[in-house]
Structures are given as C-alpha cells and as structure tokens.
C-alpha cells in the first residue's frame, strides 16, 4: 500500500509542477531575451486571477479564463514599451529596482480597485470532483489544467524552435548586435516575448483562482516559488525550468507524505543543494551580463 501512496504523491507533484511552470516559464523567457529579472511578474499573475473573477459573472467561467490572459498580455505591451525597454542595456540593479517597485504598485492598485478582502471564485460544478483510478485519486480540475499547461508548453517550444520568429529571438538572445547588423529590428520581438511571458502568468492566475485565495498579495506569494524554480533550473534555460518545476513539485508532494511540517522548507533545501553543486542551476549557462 505504501508504494501506491508514494506513487500517488509523485503524480500529484507532477501536476503541481505544471502550475509552477506557468509562472516560472514566463519569468525565465523575459530574462533570457531582455536580461531582466522581472520582480513584477507576480503582479501579472494576480491580475490574471482578478480579471478572471471579475469577468466570469458576465462572460461565464471558460470565456473569462481565456479573456483574462489576453487582456494582461495587452497590458504587457505597455509594460514593455514604457518600462522594460529602457533597461535592456542598463545595469541589472536598475531593472530589479524598477520591477520591485512596480510589484508594490500592482499590489496596492489591486487593493484600491478590488478592495483588500479576498474575492471568491467558484469553478463550474462539472469540473469539480476527483477521478479515481484504482487506488489513485486525482483532481479532475488539475488534470485539465495539466493538459492546458502541456499544450502551452508545446506551443511555446514550437514557436521558439521551429518558427522564423523563434530563430530571431534565439539569435537576439545570443548576439543582439549581430541581429541588428543584419537589419532586423529586435524591438517587436521583445514586445512579443514579454506579452507571452506575462500572459502565461495570467493563465496561471486565471486557472488557479478557483482553488486558491484571490487576494491582493497573491502575486508576492507565488513569486518566491517561481524564483526558486527558475534558480534551480538555471536562469534562461527552457528545459531547465521544466526540470526544476517537476523536481520542486515532486519533492514537495513527497515531503508532505513523510514529513508534512517540512513541506515548505523542502524546496529551499533543494535549491541549497543544487546551488552548492551547480551554482548556475541545473541547466544554466554562463551569463556574461551578471557574472562580469
């Protein structure tokens, strides 16, 4: 029986990984293209949740979950155009400060618009409930969510590795000056990447609204975990983030099974061990900008 329980937790950890991945992947994308550690990323996650909650009484649950990330992605255009763009070639400390400030502005703005009290979002009753497979129990909603994450992950991988868009973005990551010399303007590509990044965070917020507390500080709450995932995986690495999300999810689930009180600490310990042995993260590459 014990082995079943362990297996069940491992699978649950994989589902959890999908959730971490939505937030961490956008963070990592924006970093690899612009060299900016976006501390305001949690704000877009929170905004995604709030918009989904606000829109669902008018549009219905599913349309709201789709519309909210699109709106946030549009906001991402402004974010890139008026804020991020000024910092691509500056000292990283400046973009850290400005996005940190923006995270606080976002949280307070949510407080002003929606109030400090948590909002309630209920999922449609046909999505609720468990799926029992032999001795295993899964949440129907999380399985659907995992499907959405896998689909998005595939799309983004195809976009980056199998399209002309992706070729320019990858070239821009490696050598922006050479791309410019070839007569390609990188700016529109940067805007698109930021849109995708913050849009992914908003998908996370919209999908998680029915199973977590929707409150102004939810962005700050998730950002820590997202950073741990990105750090373990290695900043800027696509597969590193995927691997790290899986590791963090599984380690957390298994710790709950055997040592529940240490469940939150487990991911910090994991990060500690990884950084001791691989200071750039599991699949991280040397980052000239940060290592001088």
């Amino acid at each position: 029986m014990e082995i079943f329980f362990l297996f069940e937790q491992v699978v649950n950890g994989l589902v959890l990984a999908g959730y971490y991945l939505l937030i961490a992947l956008g963070l990592s994308l924006i970093f690899s293209v612009g060299g900016i550690v976006n501390l305001a990323h949690g704000g877009f996650y929170a905004l995604g949740a709030y918009l989904a909650v606000t829109l669902s009484p008018h549009l219905g649950f599913l349309p709201a979950v789709i519309a909210s990330p699109i709106l946030v992605a549009l906001l991402g255009i402004l974010f890139e155009r008026f804020i991020l763009r000024r910092f691509y070639r500056e000292d990283p400390i400046l973009s850290l400060l400005v996005t940190f400030g923006l995270a606080m502005v976002a949280e307070q703005a949510i407080r002003m618009i929606w109030g400090a009290a948590p909002l309630s979002q209920t999922m449609p009753s046909d999505l609720r409930g468990g799926v029992v497979l032999g001795p295993l129990l899964f949440s129907k909603y999380r399985l659907i969510m995992l499907g959405v994450v896998l689909a998005l992950l595939t799309l983004i991988w195809l976009l980056l590795n199998r399209s002309s868009f992706g070729r320019v973005v990858r070239a821009g990551i490696q050598n922006p000056d050479m791309v410019a010399a070839l007569g390609i303007r990188l700016q529109p590509y940067m805007t698109a990447v930021v849109m995708i990044g913050v849009g992914l965070a908003a998908v996370g917020g919209a999908l998680f609204a029915p199973i977590t507390t929707v409150h102004p500080a939810m962005g700050a709450e998730i950002l820590t975990i997202a950073f741990i995932v990105v750090t373990i995986g290695g900043l800027g690495s696509f597969w590193g983030v995927v691997l790290a999300a899986i590791l963090v999810g599984v380690v957390r689930s298994v710790t709950v099974q055997y040592l529940p009180a240490a469940s939150e600490a487990s991911m910090y310990i994991l990060m500690f061990v990884v950084l001791l042995t691989r200071p750039r993260g599991l699949l991280g590459e040397r980052m000239a900008k940060f290592e001088g």
Binding site: F5, E8, Q9, N12, G13, V15, L16, Y19, G115, A116, A117, P118, L119, S120, Q121, T122, M123, S125, R128, G129, G130, L137, S139, K140, Y141, R142, P210, I211, T212, T213, V214, H215, P216, A217, A220, E221, R252, S253, V256, Q257, P260, A261, S263, E264, A265
Partner: protein
Amino acid sequence: MSDCGKNLSTRRDILRAGAGVGTAMLGTVALPSLLRAQEAPIVIGHLVPLTGFLGTLGQYAINGFKLGVDQINASGGINGRQITVIAEDSINPETAATKAQRMIERDKVDVLVGEISSASALAISEVAARNKKLFIATGPRSDVLRADRCSRYMFCTDIPNAVMVNAVGTALKQDGMVEGKKFFTITSDYVFGHDLLKAAKAFFADNKADLVGEELVPTDATDFSANILKIRQANPDIVCLNLGGNQVTNFLKQYAEFGLAYPTVGFNLNTADAWAAGMGSFGGVWPTVWFDTIDTEGTKKFVADYKAAFNDQIPENHAWIEYITAKILEQSIKEVGGTDNEKLIDYLESEAKFDILKHRPAYFRKFDHQLVQEAYSFSVKDEGSYNSVYDMLQLGAAVPPDGEDLTTIYPADSGACKL
C-alpha cells in the same frame, strides 16, 4: 535649526496635532468642548498584520477600529480629548515587537491595541509588560495568552481556542458526530495551531473520539493537494481543521476540488475566509465570536454604520472586535478620568460590564484578563438555497444558552496564569 527641531519634535507630532484640532473643529460646535479639545489627544498604537496569511483579516480590523474612533471623535472625543490612531502593519513577531517598542518610545502612545497572530501578540505583550503599557489584544486566540503567558498589561477581547472548540463541540455532540468517530486533523504549524490542536485533543479524549491522523502544515503553504491525498489514505469519519487565516480558504477550495466525501468541521474560522472560499466549497459546523445577523439593536446599527462608511461592505468578526475594543477603551478612559494605565487596568479588572452588541454584556475576568462573552456556532446552508456568499452561513444558537452562566464555556482557573 536645533531649536526648531525641539519645538516640533517630529513630523508625526505636527500631523497628530493638526489632525486632532481639525477633527475637533469639524465634529463639535459648542465652545467649551472646543476649548477642551485643545488638550493633548489620546494616542493609540494599533498593530495588525496587513500582509501574509492573516493580511485580509487585518484590513477588516483597521476599518473596524477606525469606525469606532471616528464615532468617538465626532461626538467630541473622550472627556473632550480627541483620539489619534497610529496604525501599522505588524508583519511578523519580530517586527511587531520592534514597532510596539518604537510606538511607546517615539510616538508616546497611551495604549497599544490590535494583533491577530498569536505569535505576534506574545511578542507585543512582552514589550508592553517591560514598559508597563496596557495592550488590548483583539484577535489572537491561543489559550497560552490566557494561561502561562498571561500578563498584567494584556487583556484579550477575542474568544480563546478552548471556547472555539467548546462552541463547535457542543453542536457536534448534538448531531452524534463525536463519540466513536475517527478524526483527522490538519493544523497550522505555529503557536495558535498547536494550542488549538491541544484543545481539540482534550475534547476528543473527553468524548471518546479517535484521532487517526494529525498533520502540521506551515503557515506559508498554499497548496494542500498532497495533504488531501493523505487524508484519503487515512480514511477518517470527519476531517477537522485547525487552520488560520487564508489557509482555511485555500484548504476548503481544494478539498471541494478533489471531491472527498468526508465531512469537515473546523475549530477556527473568520467569516472573511469563509466568504472567500465561495459558494459550494464547504459545509460543516464552525465556531464564531460574532456574526452580522445577530439580532440586537447594537449589531444592526454597527452593520449599517460600517456599510455606510466602507463602500457597502459587510463587516466580519475582526471589524466588530476592533469596534467594540474602541468602545471598551472609551468607557474605561471616561470612568477612570484619564489614560493612567494602572488605573485603567484596575478598572478593567473590576469586572465592569461592557455592551459588545450581543444579547448579554461582557466583562473581563480578573484572573486571566479574558473578555467573557457569548460564542456561537454556525453551519453552511444547503447549496442552492442562497444566492451570495454573504447569505451562505446560518448562525446557530448562542452558547452557553440563555440563563446559563457565561463562564461555563471558558476554561476554569487552572492557576497557570499568575498576574
């Protein structure tokens, strides 16, 4: 330059004086009271968590206290003195203690009020005792604050964990849901949760219930899927929640998501966390210290005033407790004729009666400084029988029932609290 600095020592002093005079002029017309209002204002230091897992409750607390103080100031203050509140986010026990010390030293507060976290309240209580400053703890529920960690300078207005357990336990026993049943507990891993678990275990032992699993969860945990799987493995009759703040909301939403059939009961709940869980997410029996449908004139007026002041929002129990704490202070300072802390403590210890908007008046017990008052249980209405979350909860009868002494639901004097 330095002279200027001495006369107007801090920016805060200028603001405080300005605010005091300003509100006095707005609020009063009669000349004598206007003259008296020139006296130094009464300064109250207010600390509640506005961030973290208790942050959403903190906002209700700030609003409730503000409403109480605004009403007092509008009616001419206390003995002609206006009240100035210095409110800050207490964040965590370390910061709470530092801020309390700073409020006493720099802002010269007359009284400290607030807190929801039991851990932070303990930290503030130590600072208050060292400085011989009165601290009215409004939200913490740990029994230790009323037992071995009690203090001459701390008074507690919220009901303690033991009473929460008694309120729910009484309702559960009536439904035959205790004796011989298997319980699984999920507990918040800090002083409040440990304390609540202890009270719950005592209740299970007294009533021949089995504890088949107990789980401690860190306060920053937001995902309970792995814990929910463990509950299923243990196959209990009832799942019992000893969680605090938005942990309750997160757990209930995810429990509904997995669709487990074991009924839940909770030994702690603040109504804001229940509202946030949304419709159809939970059932069961829960305790509460106050609810907006309590049928008294006082509660009706408070709810109406609060809605008028805060955008038609319905107040929850932390707004109420801060409001009545402001009124308790008003009555005490009036009776004593000032803010001398030792005299105030003597007055509060005299078991003076306070109107707290419930059916029966409340008073502080001399031996543990606990505000003795009625408690309630409530249950969740059947799905489909209500249209909004504010309409979702059904208030049960007051415990103890009418005619029975209020102290019957409170722990007896065990001698642990030495004042």
